[in-house]
Amino acid sequence: MAGRRLTSTPDDLYRDALARGSESSKSGRYLVTFKLGAVDAGVRMLRDKYGLVVASAGDFQASAVVLEGLATANALILSEIGVVIVEGEAFEEHRVSSASLYEPDSPVSSIDEEYFAFGRSNHAEYLRGFGRAASTIATDLAEAVDASEVLTDSPQVTWGLAACGVPNSQFSGQGIRVAMLDSGLDFNHPDFVGHAIQFNSFVGQPPQDVAGHGTHTTGTACGPLVSTIGLPRYGIAGSATIFAGKVLNDSLVSVGGSILVGINWAIANGCEIISISASGPPQVQPPFTQAGATALSRGLLVIAAAGNQSQRPLRVAPTGNPANSPTIMSVAALDQSLGVAPFSNGGKVEIAAPGVNVLSAFPRPTLSRVLSGTSQATPHVAGIAALYAEADPQLRGTALWSQLQASVSKLPLSAADVGAGLVQAPQ
């Protein structure tokens, strides 16, 4: 099975997957991720305990791996990101996936099957041109927002941040860790250069964001207070440490297991807030409920998108998982008149935030986009949660949940659509 070797090209791997008759989304190889600082110990373990022949990308000039140079190896260590690619046959013959790898002192963080990265088919649908108006918004943020007004971006700040009272907040998320479980991040985007960022990928692809979704949501939650590229302020908790966990692949697809692995990673790394802009079917999933409960008990708050399947006023789709778990805060999307967005799911909703025509960062060379969805509403809540967490160290877990709901701007809408109301930043 030549297709599962380190020397295989992507075409070889795909032909081999088709020949196996297995799920063609999997390459047949495996990715072993080591814990931070445990690369050397991990490589020793794979060599000494499992007998693998481990080559290093660092052995190649500028770490540019040449496939022909891997002919005698059955594993390749990528030291910079702490990941080993293991050939399928070697992985199975040496039983690398034994439970012993997960002992507390093991250097292994996770083992994943490698997935193919297919081109996005919905790129054109996903993207939207700039829609920013040049007019200014109401600046007296202490007063209740007039719901009959159509809010627009100003040269200083996006309409969403203004509606949430972010510009007047004295907080910026200093000392708070926010896990963004999404499609990764463009780490070299000018507005993120120099930002404190930790990252990991749980989908077998590099953490660099290709789809743009993760960069956009992270921009809203943790983008800079002053954009280096001349955009209005679009970031809320600009001083927070970002934990960018890639749980959506480059086609914006995932499985619940990858989200769970990401939540586990965020908890293990002491994050205070976890933001998930993804949703699945409306069946409540026990592992998500348990993960949310564990997070709350450990002083974390998991915030997730309600989902975008509604076609209001004709049909209101129920909140999807993981947001429909009782231990996870569900976020609905509001439009620029502070009405519920036509696509926003309903039923189990705790809070609402701006989710239509949201300007934020996007991977280079585009740099910024205007997008809509409960995906965009969720990081508004996550970023503001980070501000509260900075403001008061007692505001963690359930206390933070309660504070977010207690400080909303009330809306004349059903709680099933917008929960407690429009999230508001601490002043």
């Binding site: 996936s97 994943d112 996903y126 956009h216 499985v255 989200i259 026990p286 450990r298 995906s375």
Partner: protein, 76 residues
Amino acid sequence: MSQIWVVTLSGTRPIMSVAEDAEQAGLLIRHVLPEIGVILGEGNENIASTMRTVEGVSDISLDLPIGVNLPATNDG
């Protein structure tokens, strides 16, 4: 046909003990998530009924797809 299963634990036993029993029961362990008490593993459709008899398991369910469901009338 082999599928990915999500095993939620009750917390009554150490997660590694449950993982070892799960492996003995035929589940190929993919992830042990000690922070949230969940094990991800691969096995055929018969593994669910077997796993429900393992002490410390409160639920086992198939891993479901999840993603970004773009607004039907919009873009993000």
